[in-house]
Symmetry: C3
Subunit: 131 residues, 3 copies
């Protein structure tokens, strides 16, 4: 099963919890794996805590300092090399188990769409495979 | 096939070689893929050299400086934002091939459970899919 | 379907576009997933823009400063701890969808073999699974 989700982002850098979107999509498969894939080169997918919003605050704070938008020597004309770098650090996709039509994840885990060059209308692809 | 492993970690940051645990588990499947998944938000999974222990020493040294526990501006009350950050850098899972019931990996590769906020009793999930 | 590719790298750190190599390989499967896996501990796989070569220039510039070859305190006798670190940051593999025998990726995405300790003759493994 393949699905394409639409995600409207609101900031240049932003972590959007898409756990519910994914879990709604995998209900029809019984047991399997689901690949959550960002088809963009300046947006990624990751899994992390979705309980305390301060975790996301600290993510943004840390990465703003670690990979700033302006960096001496950057040549890429679009001015978003930082976004490309972060996309490879976080990775374009994640794979999660599905048991009985439900995402099998840890208690505190959520799936995040990582916007690194927004705001934009983004897509996110989902592909399931039965186990 | 799904399995849950128990892993007792001993330090706050630690890389534990779980290659043997995984290879013992996949013997019963012939050919396939195995997803090794950490259901935690402060522990990850990676693949790297498991020959010279100095590689792990250098990993810990580098990341202690790159992502220190204390960072100006961190708000997360649990004081482990560094652990969450490292979990997304390394990633929560890895996927490895299984051929004839054996892990197909490079000669120097091992699978590591990455503890970033221990010591704790952790779990690690394994899901196989036939190819 | 399993395939082993040979890749000759030319520099110590280098990003080599292997999209065409992978797409040629998956034509014979209809719909599925393809795992692209580096069996090395100093070479990784990532997905990023393959249009403007300045993106790769900026990648190399950034990571040379962020993870330099020489780092105070490194012990690993081979002197390539930086290569091991970068391999875990980028990750040893990526998983991509295949629809109708074609890689399903974003318009600007390419698959890169990431050399972090070349030049060497490298191998890259490909495993498909039907969906």
């Amino acid at each position: 099963m393949f699905r394409e989700l639409q995600i409207q982002t609101a900031k240049r850098r932003e972590f959007i919890d898409i756990t519910r979107l994914i879990s709604d999509t995998v209900q029809e498969i019984g047991d399997g794996l689901v690949l959550v894939f960002s088809p963009h080169t300046t947006a990624a997918v990751t899994i992390n805590e979705n309980w305390d919003p301060d975790v996301l605050h600290d993510f943004l704070l840390f990465w703003d300092q670690q990979v700033p938008k302006a960096f001496p020597g950057f040549r890429h004309g679009e001015g978003n090399s930082d976004s490309h770098i972060l996309t490879s650090v976080f990775g374009p996709s994640t794979t999660v188990m599905v048991h009985n039509g439900k995402l099998k994840m840890g208690q505190w885990q959520g799936i995040y769409f990582c916007e690194f060059d927004g705001p934009r209308m983004r897509t996110c692809w989902i592909q399931t495979v039965a186990t």
